[in-house]
Amino acid sequence: MVKEIITYPTPLSVEYATDVRVFNDELFALIEDLKDTINENNLDGLAAFQIGSYYNVIVVKNEDGELIEIINPRLIAHSGRVTTEESTAYYPNQTAEITRYENISVVYQDRDAKDCSLKASGSMAIVIQRKIDYTFGATFIHKMSKEAKEAFENRLEYGGEVGSADYCQTSFKRDKIVLIMNVIMVFMALGFVASLFIEDSLLLQNIWKYLLYGSIGVVLLDVVYFFYAQYEGKQQSGCSSCQIGNIIGTALIVLFKLSIIMLLSYFFVYQ
């Protein structure tokens, strides 16, 4: 049966693929679906992941146009490197220059669960590598340099961060509040260090005043952070529990750092 191929911006990787353990009709049906979908869309290969299955199965077309069933593949050996212009069904109408191994050796199982191996080079080697990447939750973006990745993502309609409710983000807007608090505290710490070399009591009083204002600012920001972070966390229904500890910890770490600066300042700067 021809299946719908998952395309950008639908997130591809929620989990990485799992090895096939039971070789049964469910697997054979999946392989037939992959073949039908490849033929219908005139593709050079597909990973089961691309049609929404989490099994570690890929089907690729060899030089003779035959479809090879590759179950539980592992890329064992490689040599040489080659850079080519690649396209993939996940990003329709997009191409990118990707560097991959020129020659590869892959071990895998066939539909009878028999251990097999194949050696590939040229375009087939590239397709197999790209499909194996899919089974581990990656697209060719992961093979790009940081600059190439940014440039590619800028060309995409929704950028690179296509979210999913099923997993935790680890970069948040709230991190910017933490950054501001840290910057303020760095300046406060610098003010404290500078005060150790100053003897003018008027100047010291002024420094203390700025440190006090700074600390009030940081405390207020910390409160804002605490509540905003929880609000932001609730947008991620999948994992609010794993964030709450992080939020409390981050807020406490800020207060701890601030306390140290202010305690030292109280003894050495305050007059």
């Binding site: 929620v14 989990e15 990485y16 592992r74 071990v107 191996s117 581990f136 992961h142 997993y167 794993c242």
Partner: protein, 489 residues
């Protein structure tokens, strides 16, 4: 007054003995038999191996700690177990051979009411020709498995750095020295710590670094891999590891069984059946682990080692050893109480218990050579199992032999691992990973077999700080300093 004998004083044995001594008080006796005079926080051996810590930083004398805890301590190795006693007595006993300088070679028997086997592994260097003889490290490679090995490794590393400073390129080959190794994590830490030190020494450009391992994909770590949340994305540990290797310019050979080690060269066989050779100037290859070779005898003095121990020398416990092929493996195959099925007063903890099967996908080359990581059961799982076994034994001793046994299945247990990738207060890095459960449960969590909400990882400086704090925290705990019971395993 009953007697608990704990064989081994590593993470599992030490945890079992110290908790048992605390819970049992003076009403019962706890005896520890371990061939070592010192306790070693093994994870930090990596830092000894790159000269960033000394042997003294990662070890301490056991005798004063056991004296403080009221534990009877014999610096000796266990040789055999007689779980039915002998012809003259029904009381089970172990035969030990002293290793301390004053009594070296002397034998003694110690009767027990309960026995916990936590002997850890025999470092089976002898399994690979040229890697060593028996449990002795050979002359061609180095190791970080013990503190002394790590000191030796750091000396060799210093020599290699001097050669590079003098203008001679050096080839580094780090990884696993056999197709059936575990502990890839330790080798992973070591290669990146070396890389970090070479950069610090300004000789990184003079070094060719290569990883060799029995994993079928980079980032398997003997656990079938895991997925990690990195920078807002969920990626498999394969991508995470591959990018780290590429970023640090470390090449890799995977799916490899090291078949022979010579001076400056290893021979290996790959999963696809091909063979190859790799030259090196400096190499650290982790040996495979085996049981320590304990024998068991019945009342009549007949050898019953096969009844008590699995063929690999690890003690049989309440696991399903007849799970069959990969497709039949279940989370429930894994042991829960670690009680020996034949002799109910014997338990095994840590590496010493025989796992029912491996965790990663079993693989072998077309020549029939098995090449797959064996299950890791060190660190946090070892400590948790040790504590659960201590709990069970204490209940059996105080509440009677029908007491409920405590459970700690690796298929229901999460574990945290912090893998160092370079030591430094400001430029250190470590990958902090949590995985739940350690053994995938494909019935409960279809797909990866793991709970995606509790399996994640990050790499960065904070990870290094955590690793460093853990170093001090666990040594503090193992020394039984005030509040030690509050520190988790």
């Amino acid at each position: 007054m009953a007697r608990l004998v704990v064989l081994g004083g590593g993470v599992a044995g030490h945890t079992t003995a110290t908790f048992a001594a605390k819970w049992l008080g003076s009403g019962h006796e706890v005896v520890v038999v371990t061939p070592n005079a010192k306790w070693n926080w093994i994870p930090s051996n990596i830092w000894v191996g790159v000269g960033q810590m000394t042997k003294e930083d990662v070890t301490f004398d056991l005798a004063p700690v056991y004296a403080k805890a009221g534990i009877t301590y014999h610096q000796a190795k266990a040789v055999s177990i007689n779980p039915e006693g002998n012809e003259s007595s029904d009381k089970p006993f172990v035969t030990i051979e002293y290793t301390s300088a004053d009594k070296a070679g002397q034998s003694e028997t110690i009767e027990y009411d309960y026995l916990v086997n936590a002997t850890g592994p025999k470092l089976n260097f002898g399994a690979t020709p040229g890697l060593g003889e028996g449990s002795q490290l050979g002359e061609h490679t180095v190791s970080v498995c013990t503190a002394d090995h790590a000191v030796h490794a750091s000396e060799k590393l210093a020599e290699a750095i001097e050669k590079m400073k003098a203008g001679t390129r050096q080839k580094f080959l780090i990884g696993t020295g056999h197709g059936m190794c575990t502990c890839q994590g330790a080798a992973f830490e070591y290669i990146f710590n070396i890389e970090h030190e070479l950069r610090k020494a300004g000789v990184r450009d003079m070094a060719d670094m290569k990883w060799i391992s029995n994993e079928s994909f980079l980032g398997d770590f003997g656990m079938g891999g895991l997925h990690m949340k990195v920078g807002g994305y969920v990626v498999s540990s394969k991508l995470f590891a591959e990018s780290l290797f590429a970023e640090r310019d470390v090449e890799w050979i995977i799916g490899a069984h090291v078949s022979k080690v010579e001076e400056g060269k290893v021979h290996y066989e790959l999963l696809d059946g091909s063979t190859g050779e790799e030259e090196f100037d400096f190499s650290m290859l982790i040996p495979p682990f085996a049981g320590v070779g304990l024998k068991a005898y019945n009342k009549a003095g007949e050898d019953i080692t096969d009844t008590v121990f699995a063929p690999n020398g690890f003690m049989k416990v309440d696991a399903n050893y007849n799970a069959g092929a990969y497709e039949n493996w279940k989370a429930s195959d894994w042991p829960r109480t670690y009680q020996n099925p034949t002799y109910k007063n014997m338990f095994a903890a840590g590496i010493a218990f025989a796992p029912p099967h491996i965790i990663s996908k079993p693989m072998s080359s077309p020549n029939g050579t098995p090449i797959n990581p064996t299950p890791p059961r060190t660190g946090m799982p070892s400590g948790i199992i040790g504590k659960a076994v201590a709990h069970s034994v204490c209940d059996l001793m105080t509440k009677g032999e029908n007491a409920h046994l405590h459970e700690a299945s690796m298929a229901e247990m999460g574990a945290a691992c912090v893998a160092s990738a370079g030591k430094g207060i400001f430029d250190g890095t470590a990958a902090a990973m949590t995985v739940y459960p350690v053994v995938p449960d494909f019935e409960k969590y279809p797909g990866t077999g793991r709970d995606t909400d509790y399996t994640f990882g990050e790499i960065g400086l904070a990870g290094h700080w955590i690793k460093h704090i853990l170093h001090h925290l666990f040594i503090y705990k193992a020394k039984l300093n005030p509040g030690w019971t509050l520190i988790p395993e």
